[in-house]
């Protein structure tokens, strides 16, 4: 008897280690993600690497709802981890994927997610080479959680780290901010609104490759996900023991994102992104880097949004469009959980 991909649901046996589980793994995961390393069928993938520096990263994806304009938890779980590898100044090589499934989750939805994940992995050229599936009782999870890990090889001569920002450095964002978080909110129960806003979820490693070619001396790369640009810059200021000064007028924000934020009382600086990066580079690299980013399809809206300053208080501040200046603190306001 086949798995019922139309009206079937995840059952506890699909995680029990028996033949039902083997069938789910074969028919769904192995078939969607197929590549020589995964197909070897071991509990681990084996591959050859050159000597050098590597990065490893992981992220859990618990986004709610699972499907949203511009993506789903599957594509997000690929993009997010590919990006965290790339933000290490590295070329992503391989991904692993751990699924936690809730009993009763529709197999059709699972297939849709896995298919989207496979497409994102193929598009990025970063295969999923090993994985794991667990099933928990109904009411002990929320449909699907995915945890991906990624490894990659650091580009020669590149050294990025959150503690490398120096006063005088320039802060660049690769495009419009807030798109992902607002797209999620637009389909959250109780908040629903109609808009053309789509998540920006995408893999940024090709943009990073272009960037490190043009400016191998760039200091910091970071994707402003949870907590948005504000949280990320505060983290970086903290790690580098510097202050930062943003220019509100320079922030690229889509009008609809701005509108949704007004409607909901949010500040786009705190809204999550999943296809944007922040880069901090020496001032002499900034123009060249910006030009290269803008010439890249993933960086067309890139903008210099501020600079690093010396500040013992490690404040991130922003010159408002009115000539005022305010602190851009970490988020402490409304709760917008499960954004990634």
């Amino acid at each position: 008897m086949k798995l019922d991909w139309v009206s079937g649901r995840v059952e506890l046996t699909h995680g029990g280690g028996g033949r039902a589980m083997a069938r789910l793994v074969d028919e769904l995961f192995k078939s969607a993600f197929s590549n020589p390393l995964l197909d070897a069928g071991n509990d681990q993938a084996t591959f050859t690497v050159p000597a050098g520096r590597m990065v490893m990263t992981t992220d859990g994806y618990v986004i709610h709802p699972l499907f949203f304009p511009g993506g789903d938890i599957g594509s997000l779980a690929v993009h997010g981890t590919v990006n965290d590898v790339a933000m290490g100044g590295a070329r992503p090589l391989y991904l692993s994927a751990g699924f936690i499934l809730e009993e009763g989750f529709p197999l059709a939805d699972l297939k849709r997610i896995v298919t989207s994940m496979a497409a994102a992995s193929a598009e990025a050229g970063v295969p999923i080479v090993t994985g794991d599936t667990k099933v928990v009782e109904r009411g002990k999870a929320d449909g699907v959680f995915i945890t991906t890990a990624g490894v990659g090889v650091v580009y020669d001569g590149v050294e990025v780290s959150s503690d490398r920002a120096r006063p005088g450095d320039v802060i660049i964002v690769s495009g419009t901010i807030g798109d992902h978080g607002v797209a999620i909110l637009s389909v959250r129960e109780g908040l629903e609104f109609d808009s053309e806003i789509r998540s920006d979820s995408m893999a940024l490693h090709r943009l990073v490759e272009t960037m490190v070619q043009v400016a191998p001396g760039l200091r910091v790369l970071r994707d402003p996900t949870r907590g948005g640009v504000a949280a990320t810059l505060n983290e970086l200021a903290q790690a580098s023991a510097v202050g930062m000064e943003l220019d509100e007028a320079a922030l690229p924000i889509r009008p609809q994102v701005r509108g949704a934020c007004e409607l909901l009382g949010l500040d786009p600086l705190y809204v999550a992104n999943e296809g944007k990066l922040l880069c901090i580079c020496p001032p002499e690299d900034a123009d060249r880097l910006l030009a290269a980013m803008r010439a890249h399809p993933q960086g067309q809206d890139a903008a210099i949004i501020g600079q690093v300053v010396a500040d013992d208080h490690r404040f991130v501040t922003m010159a408002t469009s009115f000539g005022g200046r305010r602190v851009v603190d970490w988020l402490a306001g409304e709760q917008l959980p499960r954004i990634c």
Partner: protein, 375 residues
């Protein structure tokens, strides 16, 4: 965004600020209370204080409903939420407000209490329809602006026989708070008041006439965009300069003199004056708040769950009581920014983005440090 962008023009803001700077008279003091939390928030968000001349001092008023709600009321909300038969629906701002001890709705939620953040009372009604086996209590707080949505929700529940819906009513009114400020013995010296724009959209502007007259106090009701506020400040400066004390309406695009009679009629239908209500900072103020009319007692969480009110003293170190009355500034609180931060608020003023302490954290703190560094 129409009606927004044109009021956020930075260049124009500096022009108006320059006019204000030019028009303030040497030696004169312009202590202006921004009564409404929405104004407090805009002032901080757009950094307006940096644009104003030193003689124009903005004093945050009691118009943040989160700030003036006393701890005892938070405790009651937490008590309701912890009941297994109750789902408490609340606007998001209330979740981090400290109750007694270290409790809060957020903590209660983590402990297993059912607390749902809603954007609108419409959503609370939905929750009630979806959970017929629970009583869904909406934690109704706010000034006159936020009262009609609560009233309409109750009427809607009544109309459709949604018997598992109730309001925990904490709606308060603006004029009694303004009166309390002005009659306080330790009254802060004020040259003018920025009147609450959205409250007035409901009440009309005439409710402030007696204050202007009795205390010879210039009042300008203002919109919430930076140009609105700067214009209102300019109008106040001019009243002061000219020795006038009038109620002026800067927010004419949204506010007709008579307000919204239909909204007031809905309020009237559902609510009645509460003889006395405790406010943080002011203590019990007579006729300052609303309760649900006896004919709707079935939808009144206080009646339904026989909730007694217990007054609870504020945290010893917290200066919120003085801050909401304009007597102290956040930086005068000795635990501001140390024990009390937006992550771990000790007082209510550190919670809502409309609260004076939260606003100062996000804005003035930086200025304090710079001043500190300059010294």
């Amino acid at each position: 965004m129409k009606y927004v962008d044109e009021y956020r023009d930075g260049a124009k803001a500096r022009e108006i600020a320059a006019v204000i700077g030019a028009e303030v008279q040497p030696g004169r003091r312009y202590n202006i209370m921004d009564f409404c939390g929405g104004h407090t928030h805009s002032i901080a968000r757009f950094g307006l204080e940096d644009l104003l001349p030193p003689s124009v001092r903005l004093i945050h008023g009691p118009g943040c409903p989160v700030c003036v709600l006393p701890t005892g009321r938070i405790d009651s909300a937490i008590e309701l939420a912890r009941r297994p038969d109750v789902i408490l629906c609340s606007y998001g701002d209330m979740l981090r407000v400290p109750g007694s001890g270290r409790d809060s709705l957020l903590k209660a939620k983590a402990d297993g209490a059912s607390v749902r953040i809603v954007y609108s009372t419409l959503d609370a009604l939905k929750v009630a329809r979806q959970n017929p086996d629970k009583t869904v209590v909406f934690f109704a707080i706010g000034f006159e602006t936020t009262t009609p949505p609560s009233a309409l929700a109750l009427l809607q529940a009544h109309a459709e026989g949604l018997e598992n819906f109730a309001l925990f009513c904490n709606h308060v009114m603006t004029p009694p708070a303004m009166r309390a400020i002005l009659t306080s013995e330790e009254r802060v010296p004020l040259e003018g008041v920025i009147g609450p724009g959205h409250v007035s959209v409901i009440t009309g502007s005439q409710v402030y006439q007696p204050f202007a007259e009795q205390w010879q106090l210039p009042i300008v009701i203002s919109g919430f965009e930076p140009l609105d506020l700067l214009q209102a400040i300019l109008m106040l400066v001019r009243q002061v300069n000219n020795g006038r004390a009038e109620v002026e309406n800067q927010y004419a695009r949204a506010l007709q003199q008579d307000g919204n009679p239909k909204a007031r009629q809905v309020i009237e239908q559902v609510f009645t004056l509460r003889p006395s209500f405790e406010w943080r900072g002011f203590g019990a103020l007579p006729d300052s708040a609303l309760s649900i009319r006896p004919e709707f007692a079935a939808f009144d969480a206080e009646a339904r769950f026989a909730l007694p009110y217990r007054s609870v003293p504020d945290h010893k170190a917290c200066a919120c009581a003085e801050i909401v009355r304009g007597l102290k500034r956040p930086q005068d609180c000795r635990i501001f920014g140390t024990a009390c931060t937006p992550d771990h608020p000790v007082g209510s003023c550190m919670v809502s983005s409309e609260g004076a302490c939260a606003a100062h954290w996000a804005y003035g703190r930086f200025r304090d440090q710079q001043q500190g560094a300059a010294q």
